[in-house]
């Protein structure tokens, strides 16, 4: 790596993420958008494992990790510490985790953080399963995805439940800002991070990040896959302010979900089954209607 890379980025190369890891790409965008006056509390997960193996770290800003479910609470402590030191006005605090650490095991801590009104941006990197432990279903796993704990079989088409609506759950706390983004649109992530950090109070940003290993996609196609999720209506990009939906990224001519599903091994079993395929299309259609994406 050239010197410039290390000077320009706050999350740098040398980590051990898989080739094409969507989460790793998104982290770099988020860190750079936040800038160097930022402290990060990280939950356990892929990101923590591949970025900070002692004695190395990929983070060029103050970073702290302790457990799987508590980064929102650790970040709350960091914020209070800085408040006591009267340094809280100049420093951004980000709490970040995967979808399991956010919506499942970490839900209580994040709800507490939002309810207490801490000035923290919580970023969820949503790769839609427990990837660190080997592709087990999370509450954020989409309908009919094949995971190691929702395997397909004679009696199963994979995960039977829709995604947990974390962006709405956070918005329901009537926080100033709750939004989704996609790694396919780095400029949009940057804009949303900067917007969030300009607002005092608790903020939530959930970024869709394909996982080539877990989704069984080609490592060079991460951005393409992420783009298709948005274009089909399966991953709506939305912004809530104080509990109200204020903005969505329009998709004027939505693509059929088949285009998104067929490039991923985790959905391959659906392609032969018109009925199942129709059910996934229904999820996208419902999203388009519910959020007014067209």
């Amino acid at each position: 790596m050239d010197r410039e890379h290390f000077q320009e980025n706050l999350y740098v190369s040398g980590h051990t993420a898989c080739a094409g890891c969507g989460q790793s790409m998104a982290v770099r965008i988020v860190m750079n958008a936040a800038g160097k006056n930022t402290m990060v509390a990280n939950s356990t997960g892929c990101l923590e494992v591949f970025s900070t193996k002692a004695p190395e770290t990929a983070f060029a800003l103050p970073w702290i990790h302790s457990l799987f479910e508590n980064s929102a609470a650790v970040a709350s402590g960091v914020e209070l510490g800085l408040k006591y030191l009267k340094k809280n006005k100049d420093i951004n605090i980000i709490s970040q985790a995967g979808d399991g650490g956010t919506g499942d095991i970490g839900l209580q801590a994040i709800s507490g953080m939002l309810e207490r009104g801490h000035n923290i941006l919580y970023v969820c990197y949503d790769n839609e399963a427990y990837m660190n432990t080997g592709i087990q279903r999370s509450g954020s796993t989409p309908f009919y995805a094949n995971t190691t704990t929702t395997p397909i079989g004679k009696l199963s088409s994979g995960n039977t439940r829709p995604k947990k609506p974390m962006v709405e759950i956070c918005a329901a706390h009537h926080i100033p800002y709750s939004a989704t983004a996609s790694v396919a649109n780095p400029k949009d992530i940057e804009k949303k991070v900067k917007k969030a950090l300009s607002i005092e109070g608790p903020k939530y940003l959930q970024i869709h990040v394909p996982c080539p290993l877990g989704w069984k996609t080609e490592s060079q196609s991460t951005i393409e896959v992420a783009k298709l999720a948005v274009q089909t209506g399966l991953y709506p990009l939305v912004e809530y302010e104080y509990g109200k939906l204020v903005k969505v990224t329009k998709i004027t001519s939505p693509k059929p979900v088949e285009e998104y599903l067929k490039v991923q091994g985790r959905f391959r079993h659906l392609l032969k089954n018109k009925e199942d395929l129709a059910k996934v299309q229904q999820v996208a259609d419902n999203n388009i209607e519910y959020y007014g994406l067209k």
């Binding site: 160097k36 006056n37 930022t38 402290m39 509390a41 923590e48 494992v49 900070t52 193996k53 002692a54 004695p55 770290t57 983070f59 060029a60 800003l61 103050p62 970073w63 702290i64 990790h65 302790s66 457990l67 479910e69 508590n70 929102a72 609470a73 650790v74 970040a75 709350s76 402590g77 960091v78 914020e79 209070l80 510490g81 800085l82 408040k83 006591y84 030191l85 420093i91 209580q108 801590a109 709800s111 507490g112 309810e115 207490r116």
Partner: protein
Amino acid sequence: MKKFLEGSWALAEAAKLCRPGVVAAYPITPQTHIVEHLAQFVANGSLSAESVNVESEHSAASVVLGSQAAGVRSFTCTSSQGLLLMAEVVFCIAGMRLPVMMVCANRAISAPINIWNDQQDSISLRDSGWIQLYAENNQEAVDLIIAGHKIGENSKIMLPIMVCVDGFILTHGMETVDMPDQELVDKFLPAYNPPYKLDVDNPMSFGLLGDPTVYIETRYAIQKTMDQVLDEVVKVGKEYSSLTKRDSVRLVEEYRIDDAEIVLVAMGSVCGSIKDVIDMQRETGKKVGLLKVVTYRPFPKEAIKKALNKAKYIGVVDKDISLGSDGALYSEVKAILSSDKKVSGFVAGLGGRDIKVSSINTIIDLTEKEVNSCKFIDLKQELLWDEFKV
């Protein structure tokens, strides 16, 4: 100044005197009054700390982990199930070498749910890397909180401190406590100035993945530091004593032990009752003494060995039990003594069952007979299955 205080008030006052910057706790009986008093201090403006009402003990511990890492002295307190819910964070706080202060208002563990005192909660976390200090009374608890900060925050130590205080018996008991004044505490305890912290001008990563090439050394480092803590307790104890004329801060206390043939070993408030029984038995000519363990982690092996050197019969009283084995203190004391020592172990007072004068008399009698393993005291025969009746 001497004041007649509820234990929880004295403990909250002691915490306040140490000027914590962040206080995070979740209410649980019998710790509740401590949290309430601290909240009131903040509300009155007499404590300038960030006080936060978290949604669980897990988050209380996580908050103080974060704030201490940010370079701010942090305080939490809990009991029983709360401590168990904190457990994984408790281990992290020690592993990350953050000298958080915690008061554990000792209470039994479910099931059956029981809000009364024993020491199973803190004993269950004895292996977590925290310094554990057990108070006999509220005066000691106050002193251990103040001195505990100084021990744990030493830049060579950097380990968290748990001051263990028997729930209800101490937390809700009214006692005369000589509260040190703020000036004395400020002189004794310097502002928290850690060798490392989260800092945008000097970014560091905390809580890295330690694979097999580095992990065991992190544990060895804590183990070696624990050895240094033994010396530090003595050193800080002397300094504290020179300011307050009290020797609460120590490894062990020896009570009428010099010529004692029978020596009981115990921790916490039961030591007060044991001392009274010893005085009574001494009047009848029985040579009984007490070794009170104040510093339980690190375990002061040499001090205990030395103190028990002359004792003919030793009886260890546990308010805890490692089910399927013995009381924790008993097995540890026995392990460091030579095999010819006559050591008996007693489990008493679990779930708040009173340890009465008669209970202690029984323990002394049985110690002399050498029961030699874990003997439960004051069991109600009518509550036992037939095959378990004794």
